[in-house]
Amino acid sequence: MPKEESQTNGFSRRQFIRVSGAAVAASTVAGTIISAKPKPDAAPTVPAAQGAIDVTLKVNGKTHTLNVQPRVTLLDALRERLEITGPKRICDRGSCGGCTVIKDGKTVYACMMLAVDAQNSDILTVEGMGTPENMSVVQAKFVEHDALMCGFCTPGFVTSVHAVLEKNPNATDAEIRRACAGNICRCGTFNRVFEAAVAAAKAGGSA
């Protein structure tokens, strides 16, 4: 389960990095990319679109209500409406794993699910597993083993590994590879993903 067991408050405080307009002075201190001017928690305002409906999503323990057209995917709702941008849009056709999130304990492609269809579920993204200051075991092992390069596929891999270790804390290299079979990395970090995942299993799994 996510490290952050509960829910509404603690999460929003620490979670997001906001890039807000021209005032941004993004800079890097020991890997945390921060911005000078955090924004209030409200999702950015998008003018109401024709046929939009209210959709309630429970993401990383927090409940959000959005007004979106039914055709908006879970991924685009997370990224563009809630600014939960850990899950990436890469292939947008269920072929690469970059958008992998955990829905009620199982990995799914958020690009191939409508937001409206993800209601009444618990959605967990990498943001809900840890923060730069307080990473989950899987996340920390990814960093330690350099299981990422450009990092764009990384949230998807972290999520697939997290899910397999939730199911089987002693997952083997072969099981981890099968769990990651729906994830593509273009930089070629696979070997170190598997090393990190095995190390995470030894160090206590997905906690």
Binding site: I33, P47, A49, E80, K88, V126, G151, C180, N191
Partner: protein, 696 residues
């Protein structure tokens, strides 16, 4: 001024050691903000209308359907109205949501005048108007006079298809226009500085008024230098609407229009003497860079053949244009040439490793071949290629490579130390996932004797001091020496103050563990912070520039691959790869190894799966997606042993070289395993059975 050298890795804390990358925690938690992740208040989404035809002219463009659609804020049509490939940009829109922008694109009506097209090299090379001016070279005797006297001659045709970059983050940007004459641009780029001018031009404002930001980026592999046509479109739409505009290419757009590596069709005849020396070589190569006809496959790559004739020409086709692709032209050159050398060696029953050692001039590579052979267990390779009748057959192959990777444009770097002990290093480079940000910080931490967490590294913005674009493996050799220069200057200034405070000679002081201490009298010491407090007001602010003496280009590499071939299904599974790569002075062992592992994996993708498929009848790309344009996944990846072969005390670039020989080594391993020579990439089951059919 003392002679600046790289720190001795024996006694260093960070340099040459394995240091986890600084942006790792941000990337694994979703906190790192890529261009694709930027969401601004009031931001509009842009989409591009592309030509469905490979060769066509717009007779009439009716954008009224888009313009009148609720939620659409601007339509942009200042684009060429001729399309020379299916995917050429014709018009663009900006709308409140992505979904509406997509609707608006579909609401644009175009009348096309369609002209005939050619989309394949094989078709195009038959039309002399499409074939560029050949590049020809000769050396020694005419090879035609030598075939009859040679111990071994092969004559064959090889083909390496067009490959895509397949960057996971598509090309794109977010432009925030600020009246009257400024703009902030988040751009997924390999060159924040290099992109500024083009954006300023598109916006019609001075270059200094554009800030280009790229904190982290999701892969470029040579395809992301300038903002390109996307930059022009997004800039115009932001200026037209006065709102921030996000234009990230759709996956389809990315795969049809954002670059690729040209293919290479080679017809070759080559000869070897009985003692394994290349004797004569005659090659013709065709390849398409899209709508153009340049070509540049180096042939016979790293080898010197005493008698050779080479010819190559580009073939213009109605396909998306080529761009630099990680080690441009070298992976196909390696595949072509290393296959030829392997065929000749095997024909003579000679050891392919020895034959390579005889024919190439690099002493380093000769040693790398020895080391790699030992590590893979070369003596256990299939002594008779293809021996036995088992379903699964194993074999080993090798290939070698050479790459430049020296200094690009000289860079500048700022290092600042505050009176409060804060340390800042700023340089306008970018981290493509190679680990640039991390070594920018570790170099300074090392020289100032501080823990890494005390150094703030600032990169990825064009308002920082100039740094070269990240291509050609020049980033480390250009950036690191500039950081080192600034860092040493800061160290000198700090030690000057410390020497006065401690009544010691600066040359007797060392910085270690947050302290400055006398080497001769260790009890005479101050903390770093104590010294900083006594610095002149404003602390230290120094600038460094690339010291050419700290870098070197020209790196050699050798790779060995072991494969298992399922001869019943044609499925090729790499088992183990040893990648020995000349790395110069290693700044960070962990990330350097990752570069080698990643290069090998991309090389294996080329060997096994990558293939842009164009449809001649329709002129369209058949696999403009990640479902059918395939790269290897978790179950294909073999054990990979990266060997950092450190040859000198200067920094070299290794972003590209490891990608070069892997495919060739894999092809040669398949031959060793099965006795079947696959001359067309990728080596899919289709190729396997076609090769079997040809041998029967």
């Amino acid at each position: 001024m003392q002679d600046v050298r790289w720190n001795d890795p024996e006694s260093s804390r960070y340099l040459g050691k394995s240091v986890p990358r600084l942006d790792g925690p941000g990337k694994v938690t979703g906190n790192a903000k890529y261009t694709f992740d930027i969401v601004l208040p009031g931001m509009l989404h842009a989409k591009v209308l592309r030509s469905p035809h490979a060769n066509a002219r717009v007779a009439n463009l009716d954008v009224s359907g888009a313009r009148n659609m609720p939620g659409v804020r601007a339509v942009f049509t200042d684009l060429p109205q001729t399309a020379r490939f299916a995917g050429a940009e014709i018009a663009a829109v900006a709308a409140d949501t992505e979904e509406i922008a997509r609707d608006a694109i579909r609401a644009i009506k175009v009348q096309w005048e369609v002209e005939p097209h050619v989309v394949s090299t094989r078709r195009g090379m038959r039309d002399s108007a499409r074939v560029g001016r050949p590049r020809e070279a000769t050396r020694g005797q005419d090879p035609d006079t030598l075939w009859s006297s040679a111990a071994a001659v092969i004559e064959a045709e090889y083909y390496c298809p067009v490959r895509e970059h397949l960057s996971l983050e598509t090309h794109g940007l977010v432009v925030q226009w600020q009246e009257p004459d400024r703009a902030t641009v988040w751009l997924s780029t390999q060159a924040v500085h290099g992109s500024r001018g083009e954006l300023a031009g598109a916006l019609g404002i001075p270059q200094q008024n554009v800030e280009v930001i790229c904190e982290v980026m999701g892969g470029g592999f040579g395809s992301k230098f300038g903002p390109g046509v996307e930059g022009r479109i997004a800039s115009a739409l932001s200026k037209m609407t006065g709102k921030p505009v996000k234009l990230m290419l759709e996956r389809y757009d990315e795969q049809v229009a954002s670059g690729n590596a040209p293919d290479a069709l080679m017809r070759v005849k080559a000869a070897m003497s009985a003692d394994g020396k290349l004797l004569a070589f005659d090659s013709q190569i065709w390849g398409t860079p899209g709508n153009g006809n340049n070509s540049g496959i180096p042939m016979p790559y790293i080898y010197t053949v005493p008698n050779q004739k080479t010819w190559q020409a580009g073939v213009s086709t109605n396909t998306g244009g080529a761009r630099a692709w990680r080690a441009p032209n070298c992976p196909p050159a390696s595949f072509l040439m290393e296959s030829v050398v392997d065929e000749l060696a095997n024909k003579l029953g000679l050891d392919p490793v020895k034959v390579r050692q005889i024919n190439q001039g690099s002493e380093i590579r000769t040693k790398q071949l020895e080391l790699g052979a030992q590590m893979i267990g070369w003596e256990n390779r299939n002594k008779t290629p293809g021996a036995g009748s088992a379903r699964y057959k194993r074999g080993m192959g090798c290939a070698v490579a050479q790459w430049g990777g020296g200094m690009g444009q000289p860079c500048n770097c700022d290092v600042k130390i505050g009176n409060d002990g804060s340390v800042y290093v700023g340089i306008g480079t970018q981290d493509l996932g190679t680990g640039t940000r991390t070594y920018v910080a570790t170099i300074v931490a090392e020289d100032l004797g501080l823990p890494l967490s005390r150094v703030r590294a600032d990169i990825g913005r064009s308002s920082l001091p100039f740094a070269t674009g990240s291509g050609g493996s020049v980033t480390s050799p250009s950036v690191a020496p500039a950081v080192k220069d600034a860092s040493m200057k800061a160290q000198v200034r700090l030690l000057e103050t410390a020497a006065t405070l401690m009544s010691a000679q600066a040359s007797d002081l060392e910085l270690r563990d947050g302290k400055i201490a006398s080497k001769s009298n260790p009890s005479n010491a101050m903390t770093f912070d104590q010294v900083c407090a006594k610095l002149p007001p404003g602390g230290i602010a120094v600038s460094g520039t690339t010291l050419a003496s700290l870098q070197q280009g020209g790196v050699a590499g050798a790779q060995f691959v072991e494969v298992e071939v399922d001869t019943w299904t044609g499925k090729i599974q790499p088992i183990k790869v040893v990648a020995v790569q000349d790395c110069g002075y290693v700044l960070n062992k962990l990330t350097a190894e990752s570069q080698l592992i990643g290069g090998v994996i991309q090389g294996l993708c080329m060997a096994l799966l990558e293939d842009r498929k164009m449809d001649e009848p329709t002129g369209r790309m058949l696999n403009p997606n990640m479902e059918m344009y395939k790269v290897i996944g978790s179950l294909e990846v073999p054990e990979i042993i990266p060997v950092l072969y450190e040859t000198h005390d200067k920094v070299a670039g290794i972003g590209e070289p490891a990608v070069i020989p892997a495919a060739a080594a894999c092809v040669n391993a398949v031959y060793n395993a099965t006795g079947v020579r696959l001359r067309t990439l990728p080596m899919t089951p289709k190729r396997w059975f076609e090769a079997m059919e040809a041998t029967q």
